[in-house]
Symmetry: C2
Subunit: 812 residues, 2 copies
């Protein structure tokens, strides 16, 4: 078993090979446009090089667009090669070990303390986010109010007209039309601004940002996802899209924003602003940055929902693979501080300074202890609602999937995207208007009226239009109304119509080129049909006080719908419990979420996973596909491998790095003496980024006069270049220098993880996932390099309808 013969053909290490993870855009079909939106112009991490590539490709691309692409490469059976991995495994080279060994115990203490400090500063990040969130709240509230005012004016005008006489009906309709048009134009204008900012300046800022953060935490480098510019565009975009009356929430963007802030603060500098504070230089590597990003995401959730524990669980459920207690505590601390500062500001906003009992930006309102009882015989009902949520969620996801495919095919130009967004805004306005116009659900204004803006539209005095309330308020407030308004506040027909229209609007809206989340729309849809369910139930049974409270069913429905769409369980349970401020419903919510997940998973994946798949990201799931034991490392690895000698000629290095057709990122290092016909024994692994820094600093040795090593390279030099290493093209190497040698010994990682060729895929997968690897060297029984396993080699296998399937690899 172990004396495996060298079945794998071996070629010289200078040959072209297929080992690299990241290859620049080569065949940019129409598909490239969609991935642009996700990955920011398809630029891969070495900024300039890719721009060059893109420009080179442009002509070809244009051609491809003009002649309609014959095969549509974007379906979920593709895996893009253009996404790079992050290095979550430290490169423990000599420099690193020397630094670590120099550090005393106190040094480590200081480091740990500064980690906590950064977490607190990220809390100030959280503060900024929550500040921003608060500001958002104000701005949006202001805008909404002005919109509402506009409509009030129109309403008064039209209603007073309709009072006059029947002859003037025509005028009324005319007035209404004007009102509708005004409203649609206003909304479209807002959305246009938001969409233009996103589509033209930073396509990565589109959508909720949660899939991107999920990929980042999984170890895939989504270009520009944690940049300052992205943050700016995201914040601006989300204000516009919420103000534009789209069926969107601002929670996903807030989570993304939190992650960006944390990533930025932890680096102690801003590359965009060209400002380096010379702080936290130790944290300038992927491993540390990931930890801060997860803390930031948690703080974002925490600020959005007032759910610090939920935030931690969100980070863990969506991202982490290795559970580290210290890290978890730090994340927890960051979340807590985020909630804390938010509470503080909220208490000022609510004019009760210092009263911190009212956490969270989105408050779903407190369920009083008396009204929250539920009974055993309600459990089957809850499960039934969970199943409905799962079905509706699956429907939502399927529709959105087809819509996204359609968008990929036909709506790939920024201007088209902006137009679509504007169209959606106009249609949203028209639908709302129509619904309100034809609705005659007038409810009396009670003394304990919780609505802040009861709209009288088309109703008698002392009454308000409940359909208008559902549509015109911010979605958050509508959710709260659905949870807490007294029984009888809503007409079943109103709720049914609202659910139906909002469902399709939200489905159409998600995936537009605007910054927008799907959390709140989902909750709103669910709350609406949940309340409807409760009302119908009460009507059928016509008994008991327990059945009579539709707010309870609205909550359960909201949970079911959201669970059916995003398929989170543990974190979502805690988030909803924390947001409603009551743990009594914990158990039913859990049941509902698990049911929704099981039912939904039977049909289709969760919304975020669908989008990740459609973007062909090499995402690694928690475990290898079930039936993959038949595969071994030998089958999945890329081979032959481009290796370097321990002391390598500069010319060779430059040539290999410049080879755009392979574009490898990690190179096993073998001793010098191995001849070319036989693989060498592995003695290290070196990364492209490290070689680039070496070349830039011209760390050359002997063999030629001009090859004086200029100075001893420090770890600092690598950190300064992180994370935007210059492209190889920007480094000038003279003909003389090409003849020099470079000693890689102290820069390579001398102890890369290796596996023998017979290792089964699940075992390789486990190693890869648990340690966050980027390259795994496959060796034969004499420790010679025979292959290299990268992320795409593992992500390529997935479980289809007919057993194990292999995804095609695409260059885009």
């Amino acid at each position: 078993m172990a004396n495996v013969s060298k079945k794998v053909s071996w070629s010289s290490r200078d040959e072209d090979s297929a080992q690299g993870e990241d290859t620049p855009l080569l065949n940019g079909a129409g598909a490239a446009r969609y991935t642009r939106q996700f990955s920011g112009s398809g630029i891969f991490h070495i900024g300039k090089l890719s721009t060059v590539d893109l420009e080179e490709d442009n002509s070809e691309e244009e051609g491809a667009v003009l002649s309609r692409p014959k095969e549509i490469p974007h379906n979920e059976k593709l895996l893009s090669l253009k996404y790079e991995s992050l290095d979550y495994d430290n490169s423990e080279n000599q420099l690193f070990l020397e630094e670590e060994r120099r550090m005393s115990y106190m040094g480590f203490r200081c480091l740990e303390i500064s980690r906590w400090v950064v977490s607190v500063v990220s809390e100030i990040g959280g503060l900024q986010v929550s500040d921003q969130a608060l500001w958002l709240k104000w701005v949006i509230a202001g805008l909404q109010v002005s919109g509402v005012m506009l409509k009030w004016v129109h309403r008064r005008a039209s209603v007073s007209l309709s009072m006059c006489s029947d002859i003037e009906k025509f005028t009324e309709v005319g007035g209404l039309s004007i009102s509708l048009i005004l409203w649609a134009v206003l909304n479209s204008a807002f959305v246009m601004v938001g969409s233009i900012v996103v589509a033209f300046f930073e396509p990565i800022a589109a959508g909720s940002g949660i899939p991107q953060i999920k990929c980042y935490l999984n170890g895939v480098k989504i270009p520009r996802v944690v940049r300052l510019k992205t943050l700016m565009v995201k914040v601006g975009g989300v204000i516009c899209s919420v103000a534009g009356g789209l069926a969107v929430g601002k929670e996903g963007p807030m989570i993304h924003s939190g992650a960006v802030v944390a990533a930025g603060v932890s680096q102690g500098r801003s590359t965009s602003l060209k400002k380096d504070f010379k702080m936290f230089e130790y944290f300038r590597r992927d491993t540390e940055k990931r930890d801060f990003v997860s803390a930031g995401a948690a703080a974002g959730v925490s600020a959005a929902f007032g759910a610090p524990v939920g935030g931690v669980l969100f980070s863990l459920e969506e991202g982490a693979s290795f559970w580290n207690q210290m890290l978890t505590w730090r994340i927890f601390f960051a979340s807590m501080m985020s909630t804390f500062t938010l509470n503080f500001f909220l208490s000022i906003y609510n004019e009760k300074p210092g009263d911190l009992s009212n956490p969270g930006l989105i408050n779903f309102g407190r369920f009083d202890s008396d009204s929250v009882e539920y009974n055993l015989y309600e459990i089957p009902l809850f499960i039934c609602m969970g199943a409905i949520g799962g079905l509706l969620g699956a429907l939502f996801n399927v529709l959105n999937y087809w819509l996204t495919i359609f968008r990929i095919r036909y709506i790939h130009r920024p201007c088209l995207q902006v137009m679509e967004a504007m169209l959606v805004a106009a249609v949203t306005a028209a639908v709302s208007f129509t619904m309100i116009y034809f609705s005659n659900d007038c409810q009396p204004l009670g003394p304990d009226q919780s609505e802040e803006y009861p709209l009288q539209l088309f109703c008698d005095d002392g009454e308000y239009n409940s359909m208008a309330t559902a549509f015109f308020n911010t979605p958050e407030r509508s959710v709260r109304s659905l949870f807490h308004n007294a029984p009888g506040s809503y007409n079943p027909l109103t709720l049914g119509m609202f659910t139906l229209s909002y469902f399709f609007l939200a489905c159409w809206t998600y995936g537009l080129t605007v910054s927008a989340g799907v959390f709140i729309p989902s909750l709103l849809i669910g709350a609406a049909w949940g309340r409807l369910f409760g009302i119908l139930l009460a009507a059928i049974t016509s008994s008991g006080s327990i059945w009579a409270d539709p707010g309870k069913y609205a909550l359960i429905g909201a949970a079911a719908q959201l669970g059916g769409i995003v398929r989170m369980t543990l974190s979502l349970t805690v988030i909803i419990v924390e947001a409603t401020g009551n743990v009594t419903y914990g158990l039913p919510i859990m049941l509902v979420l698990i049911t929704a997940k099981i039912v939904g998973d039977y049909f289709v994946e969760g919304l975020y996973d669908i989008h990740i798949k459609l973007q062909s990201v090499p995402f690694l799931h928690w475990e290898a596909p079930a039936t993959s034991h038949s595969l071994t490392a030998r089958e999945v690895m890329s081979s032959p491998v481009t290796c370097f000698s321990r002391i390598e000629k500069v010319g060779t290095i430059v040539d290999i790095l410049s080879n755009t057709s392979t574009n490898h990122n990690g190179f096993p290092v073998v001793p010098r003496d191995s001849d070319d016909n036989e693989p060498g024994r592995i003695c290290g692994l070196i990364l492209r980024s490290q070689l680039i820094v070496l070349l830039k600093h011209k760390v050359f040795v002997e063999r030629a006069r001009s090859c004086l090593q200029q100075r001893r390279l420090q770890l600092k030099d690598f950190r300064d270049a992180y994370p935007r290493f210059p492209p190889i093209q920007s480094i000038h190497v003279s003909q003389d220098e090409r003849e020099c040698m470079m000693d890689l010994t102290q820069f390579m990682n001398p102890t890369p993880y290796t596996v023998p060729q017979e290792t089964s895929l699940p075992r390789v997968f486990k190693l890869f996932r648990a340690l966050g690897l980027r390259h795994l060297v496959v060796i034969d029984h004499e420790n010679r390099v025979v292959g290299l396993v990268t992320r795409k080699d593992l992500a390529r296998y997935h479980l289809g309808k007919h057993g194990l399937e292999e995804l095609q690899l695409a260059q885009t």
Copy 2:
């Protein structure tokens, strides 16, 4: 760097070496007795062998006890070699791979479904636990009531006597003495029974069980920790110790019980009862069993506190290393079902069948929404209370540490242990009695009296003695009273005295040879001083309604004290939030717990960690010690290594396995052709347990007539023997058979994880911890075996006051 010369001396593989993890008891000093209590007679996993060893050692041991041991080996600077590791890394040998490859996708679906089914059955386990818990509640309530009744009778007698005349004071005192003695005797009797059961039948059932479960999940095999007998003794013991009036809780034991039930159910058989249901055979290995144990522990927490999310977090915070989403969901589901069934039974117990709104066995009472407000300026107070909790917790831990050392030295015989337990019971009774006698804190019986047993002892009619209330009720009820009784129910002096006495009683009690937890006593101490704090605060400021509610401070104090003792943060926050049914206090509780942890950690470790350390368990923490980068695999590994050839002589195998001085558990396998003077190239790894099964089934080949392979061995044969593999001594191998050969190829794990010699300790540690390894083979650059890293090699380094320290290894 990479062409490391073979500095490590190499000897032939038959030589004695120090690679094994588990060595039987060789030098059993007094220390052995303490570890008996923890590990169940120090028997290591191969049942009979160890018994034999123990008997062999007995004489020596007796001698060692008679002549007082010169050096006390039990301090925290020791690491015991007698604990075995668990195999959390699957041995992917040919048999296993064949089975996996035969399995279709549907097979895996079925397996996953049966995992969920087992989780549900573990829920029935949870049900059993909660049932047991409920039963416990009834029994204990009954016992307490009878005790209270006894005291009532005496009180009436004595009070009526004291009414008569001064002359009869003497008689009164006499009557009181009799009452006291009766009470003390009754309590001692209960405790004696509980203690005898534990000390003589199953010492592992002593204590809360949480440290043991923590070790199990960490990967250390604590003998007999998940057996049926342990469960029985634990349940019986905890009833006796709670009924005996000790300052203990029943929550830790419930968590342990949950884990045992889940482990038992998942195996589909009971070895003790000799009953095999032929179910779930796939789950008969350590990896799967661990998952069920963590689910069981979570279900236990869930049942005990009504905190399903808290249970999941407890399992994760205390145990898991690799976060797996599917596993987490399953754990979550199990917890949920556990709470659900418990609620159902509780609703029947409370005579409101079907009303599930009242979760948890321990209900700390619901904090109403109105009274739960807190303000910004209370935050510093909360932090201050957290610091007090941390200090008091550290004091508790230090006192308990010295007490435990004392117990290890002097109280190691079971009969002494029983006597100590009885003494503690008597002293507890005496102290309570004295406190009540000298207390004159009589409170009027209000109309909204929440006490179920208001005790009038020494008070006027219409009043009750609040000190007696605090002492005589079950601790759970006392905690609830402290949280919720109206302001003024307790005298500050009462609270102060109660805190003081209960603190020392609880500290003395923890570590006795009885089944008992520390959760509730900690909460009680904290609630008492917290309430005191609140009362004092109100007295000082004499203003505002916010300050006036001492219940809030009781809650914060309880959290602070518990956090200071056990040092959990995330899970404890969620547990307390779920148990109190209100999330508003989430933020202050978190703050308090983190403060308590930081302050406490400055002085001493958490209570569970102290006990784990004192038991010299090779426990692996989350990360390698900070300054350990200077060590490499070469320094930490054991070498030389006993290797086997791929086709090995039976006699050699039997001899090596029988060598009790080494007692290795894992053996690298090298190709046959390597000669003895040079290490062979690694081609596999085989475990002792596998070899034992091979020998038992006489899977021999050729070389001699008698060596007919009897039948092809199945994976089932290994599973049937799991987990109690017979000792090598019980397997008879004839002289003829000794000459036969054994082909290990299809039984060994052909792809063990390996690292080069230069790998730094943190890197080795990360690999070990993330993958749950038991053996890690160290190779040179030609893939030859040069050493083996086991758990004890890594656990041996820890961070002391003067930097990195190395623990001594002890055979006991």
